[in-house]
């Protein structure tokens, strides 16, 4: 009927990929949603010249089949809705919105009419009957909605965390900066104080508040932080605790352990049993807990 025209032929919408490819070929705008492909299927061609259009025949048929004129509205339940102009078929959201508004508007009109008739038309809350979709299916739907919600929430949470991290980094940087600044200031103040002191000829008691902390060697010694449990004679402040004596004592044990568990060489071979070691039962504790192992 019509000659060859460019068209997007994919019309089962589960073949999204194919659809995209074809769209590229056809230089059409690619559509985002899945169900938009089928309606963009036609690139408007010239209408066929010889197409039959028998208006009279159509109208005659319409008269034949149509219900009598004065049929009450309740039999038909039809509502007409003025569709907004310029709804783009390929714009999924716009299109669906148009349908939704049509349904909503129509329903309002219809409900107005039904209310005017004073007949019950709304389902009472205690009316239970078979539904179009089964409960099992609705459960699935619910699960999906919930999981979707959860996913969105999680994504949001992650986003928030990322933001918080960024902020925290900045805060940390600010803090270190401030600390450095304070340190610098303190050093500066100490220098200043020294200078003043020098100028005043080391006069004691001139600036009372400074003179407390820097008086004598005692103060300096105390300012060094000491570890707990350090012997009073230990001048290193517990840093070299254990000392030479202890180290020597532990050395042997350490060496043995190193030889056994690693530190140099392949472990696998060393740990394997040989004929000797299998026959050697020394390692087993024969006499209960009392005997000490000699290895």
């Amino acid at each position: 009927m019509v000659g060859i025209h460019k068209k997007d032929p994919s019309h089962s919408e589960d073949t999204m990929e194919e659809h995209d490819n074809l769209n590229e070929i056809n230089d059409e705008e690619s559509n985002s949603d899945s169900d938009s492909d089928s309606e963009s299927e036609e690139v408007r061609a010239e209408p066929a010249k010889n197409a039959i259009y028998n208006r009279d025949g159509l109208l005659e048929k319409l008269e034949d089949i149509s219900w009598p004129e004065n049929v009450e509205w309740i039999h038909k339940l039809t509502v007409d809705h003025d569709q907004a102009e310029g709804v783009d078929v390929n714009d999924d959201l716009g299109r669906e919105l148009a349908f939704y508004t049509q349904a909503l508007d129509g329903t309002r009109k219809a409900f107005d009419k039904l209310q005017g008739m004073k007949i019950p038309f709304l389902r009472p809350p205690d009316y239970y009957a078979e539904m179009v979709k089964t409960d099992a299916h609705m459960l699935k739907v619910k699960g999906r909605v919930l999981s979707e919600k959860k996913r969105i929430e999680e994504a949001e949470e992650r986003k928030k965390m990322r933001e918080a991290k960024k902020v925290a980094k900045e805060v940390q940087a600010q803090k270190t900066k401030e600390r450095a600044k304070r340190k610098k200031e303190e050093i500066e103040s100490v220098k200043k104080w020294r200078k003043q002191r020098q100028q005043s000829g080391f006069a004691k008691g001139k600036d009372g508040e400074m003179d407390l902390g820097f008086d004598g060697d005692d103060g300096f010694a105390r300012s060094k932080k000491r570890k707990t449990g350090v012997a009073p004679g230990d001048r290193s402040g517990g840093i070299r605790r254990g000392g030479k004596k202890g180290q020597e004592k532990n050395r042997k044990k350490r060496d043995y352990r190193d030889s056994k568990f690693g530190h140099g060489g392949r472990k696998g071979v060393k740990k394997q049993n040989t004929a000797e070691t299998t026959n050697d039962l020394r390692g087993f504790n024969k006499g209960g807990m009392s005997k000490k192992r000699n290895g």
Binding site: E42, P47, G57, L58, V71, A98, L122, R123, P124, V132
Partner: protein, 313 residues
């Protein structure tokens, strides 16, 4: 059921004057609802009674998606009768007409699947036509989890049409047929007396789009929504979705003289053929381009480069 109905119709004329008031109330069959309105109707004119029955069937070798769509339609229309699949070779003949007659139906929706991918929908008024053949696109069945609504099975739908149905004669005809086929007859025994879903038929881009929404509206009484409830009304989509592209309208049922032909219609076969041809041309084009390039290179040979062995030493 059939008997009772006949009885009601027969009784209406003679008994109208003497025994109309003391009629027993029989709610189970819708007797009670039907009875009071009859006197008022018959006083003005003959009673209108919608006795539409729709036969729904499909061709053999239909694929699952389209079959599910058909089953969804079956679940939406309580006044339909579903029949087993029909051999598609026979669908051209009078088999379907016979089947419709056999099942006592007045209209038919026939889902014809070809090549496992193209779905055609025949919408037929039975004994004397007309019939419309559509190509069905953009099918979404009710099983999809995106469509979250639900409504009573068998409640009568509200039908909303966009006004551009009234502009052209063929759309007018389609609208009338849709109204008759998709509207559930009042007081049908399988229908439920509440309205909780709405069908949308809208013409966009010369296609008829179908949507089905659940109506959720706050109400306490059954005959009145709450104050301001109409504004608070929301719709949830139930499905299915599909889009009908009219191909032809015939005068008879499953045949007869063609009354209308869609001038813009291109069959999916043609589209696919075109696509194939395009793909077939790809290799030839590539080879041609290669040879052309070769010829071009031969004809304009490069000049010997004077700096070619500058760095050789």
């Amino acid at each position: 059921m059939g008997k009772k109905r006949k009885h009601a119709e027969a009784a209406e004329a003679p008994k109208k004057d003497d025994s109309a008031p003391p009629r027993p109330k029989r709610t189970l069959t819708g007797w009670k609802d039907g009875e009071p309105e009859k006197p008022s109707d018959s006083s003005a004119h003959t009673v209108f009674r919608n006795k539409e029955k729709v036969l729904i069937t499909c061709s053999r070798r239909i694929n699952y998606r389209y079959r599910h769509l058909m089953l969804n339609v079956v679940s939406l229309l309580p006044h339909c009768k579903k029949d087993s699949k029909v051999e598609s070779k026979e669908s051209k003949g009078s088999t379907l007409n016979e089947l419709i007659e056999l099942r006592n139906c007045s209209s038919c929706l026939f889902f014809e699947c070809r090549k496992q991918k193209d779905l055609y929908l025949w919408m037929v008024k039975s004994p004397s036509g007309p019939s419309v053949k559509f190509l069905v696109n953009a099918v979404h069945t009710m099983d999809e989890l995106k469509l979250t609504g639900n409504h009573l099975k068998g409640s009568r739908p509200l039908l909303t049409f966009s006004t551009n149905f009234d502009k052209e004669p063929h759309w007018k005809l389609v609208k009338e047929m849709i109204t008759q086929i998709f509207a559930t007859p009042k007081d049908h025994r399988k229908s439920k007396p509440f309205h909780d879903h709405v069908f949308v038929f809208s013409i966009l881009d010369d296609h008829v789009w179908f949507r089905n929404y659940q109506i959720s509206v706050p109400h306490n009484e059954t005959d009145k929504v709450d104050r301001g409830g109409l504004d608070k009304m929301t719709l949830v989509e139930v499905g299915p979705r599909f889009c009908l592209n009219p191909i032809k309208i015939f005068g008879g049922s499953f045949g007869g003289p063609t009354l209308y032909e869609n001038p813009f219609y291109v069959s999916p076969n043609q589209i696919r053929a075109l696509e194939k041809r395009k793909k077939a041309g790809k290799y030839v084009k590539k080879v041609k381009a290669k040879t052309r390039r070769k010829i071009h290179e031969m004809s304009n040979a490069l000049e010997p480069d004077e700096f070619a062995d500058l760095w050789k030493e």
